[in-house]
Symmetry: C2
């Protein structure tokens, strides 16, 4: 089992990338905040299918947490992360400290209007600015040819695609299908917060989403399908539903309230089980 | 006299840059909004001293004009610009249209807090966001090794330096000393708006700035030196003085009101002669 090389500075990462590119190799980047699980490893494998070398960045980005959010509590475990990357043959782990990413006097923010604003952006107004800024930095730092993001964070994927296109960053962005447990629950670092009882109830989230998507595909009104999913979540014990919305798949503009017609849609859900907020999403369109 | 090659797409520009870099050549970029004058040509010459190949971009950026500003009236003359670039041996002119720079759905904005906020930023709140965004795009599009900006737009130079450093764009940024007419007036496209009488009075601007810089160097209080410059401008017929301020040279934080001490300063001025707003700046520090 090859250990990934761990580098902590942009200059070190660029040295590796320069050598790889000089050898004609294609380089992929998989940005993460650590706490790696099987979902992340599927991203690394997909990156390996699309490039000769794969860098995983591990950086818990302070700029995408609001003051009241769980930045300090966010799980960290670099040694375990490095082992997991080794198990799938990842070439390089880029694990900068905060001062390497944000030098004294740092004052630049990248914002993406439109696609950043609804859903997660409405609940967390600083979030996507922090994401777009750190991801642009990682793209420019690594000069990777391709980057892989999970569809689990679907809005993030669309924000990052829009940002890279708007800034002309020469990188291909691939969305990886969400890795799921056997019962259908999307894998997430935050699932660790669920009690056994909550974990059992959590399957209602993918189930409700699938039912709504099937109804829309069969020609139901979008607003009715959304309402049915909300009811199913509440019946399963979700204490609060932040949103169940069918939106256009790339710019996340609102679809409905009537039948979806020819549009390519995405159903996106955020809901609370006890103290844990779960999100998920799924493609939806006319059958 | 070699004509510069004119390209209108990012893809074409990158083809040239790729060939140059493959040949081991260093590439410089000089971003302009056209209406080229001798001041711009000194930037091209400085770029030639620092690189093997020079690209001049000519793009009147709609995003750095507010709705009431002079976007439509801003002088444009591509054929004359191309001739002037030819006269100094510039290799490539990148003259994209607005849809090449801002495709439908464009929604990304780069803002730089701190250094963007006072002076020109106070008068024109959208201005430096527009500048930082288009300049980041030009840097990323061209993948130039070095870029040259005039010190005439001193705050812009500091905003661009901060943005490039914060986003880790691998480009060296060189500030070129302001080109001046024989009497000391800084060259500017907007000087064309001055009447003969106003042009004669305009020399008071560099003179007042020099007098204030000399007073500060000799140990005068910063607030007194600024006030003397304001009075000199008014006496010379400037109808309004937007600011005369001594600030720290790189982050543009306020210096004074007492003597400047050890700080490296910059005096920056904006004032109106009739309907024309002139800006200028100069280094200032203890003698």
């Amino acid at each position: 089992m090859t250990q990934p090389t761990i580098v902590r500075t942009v200059a070190q990462m660029r040295e590796h990338v320069r050598a790889w590119k000089a050898a004609g190799q294609r380089v992929a980047l998989v940005p993460t905040m650590g706490a790696l699980h099987e979902g992340h490893l599927t991203l690394i494998r997909l990156a390996q299918e699309n490039a000769d070398r794969v860098i995983a960045s591990v950086f818990v980005n302070p700029k995408q947490f609001a003051p009241h959010e769980d930045f300090d509590a966010y799980p960290r475990g670099e040694a375990v992360d490095a082992e997991k990357l080794a198990s799938v043959g990842c070439d390089l782990m880029f694990a900068p400290n905060a001062s390497e990413m944000y030098a004294p006097g740092f004052s630049t923010l990248i914002t993406v209007s439109g696609v950043s604003e609804p859903l997660e952006g409405a609940a967390r107004p600083q979030f996507f600015g922090g994401v777009a800024t750190v991801v642009a930095k990682l793209f420019i730092q690594s000069q990777a040819d391709v980057a892989v993001f999970g569809e689990k964070d679907y809005q993030q994927l669309q924000v990052v695609k829009r940002m890279a296109r708007d800034l002309d960053i020469p990188i291909e962005i691939i969305g990886a299908p969400t890795a799921r447990a056997e019962d259908g629950l999307a894998l997430s670092s935050r699932n660790a917060y669920l009690s056994a009882e909550e974990r059992a109830a959590a399957v209602a989230l993918p189930d409700a989403m699938k039912a709504a998507a099937q109804a829309v595909a069969a020609g139901s009104r979008v607003d009715e399908a959304e309402a049915i999913a909300v009811e199913a979540l509440k019946a399963a014990g979700f204490r609060q539903v932040d949103y169940v919305e069918v939106r256009e798949a790339s710019d996340l503009s609102r679809l409905g309230p009537g039948p979806i017609g020819e549009a390519e849609g995405r159903i996106l859900v955020a809901a609370w089980l006890g103290g844990t907020r779960l999100i998920d999403n799924m493609a939806v369109g006319q059958a």
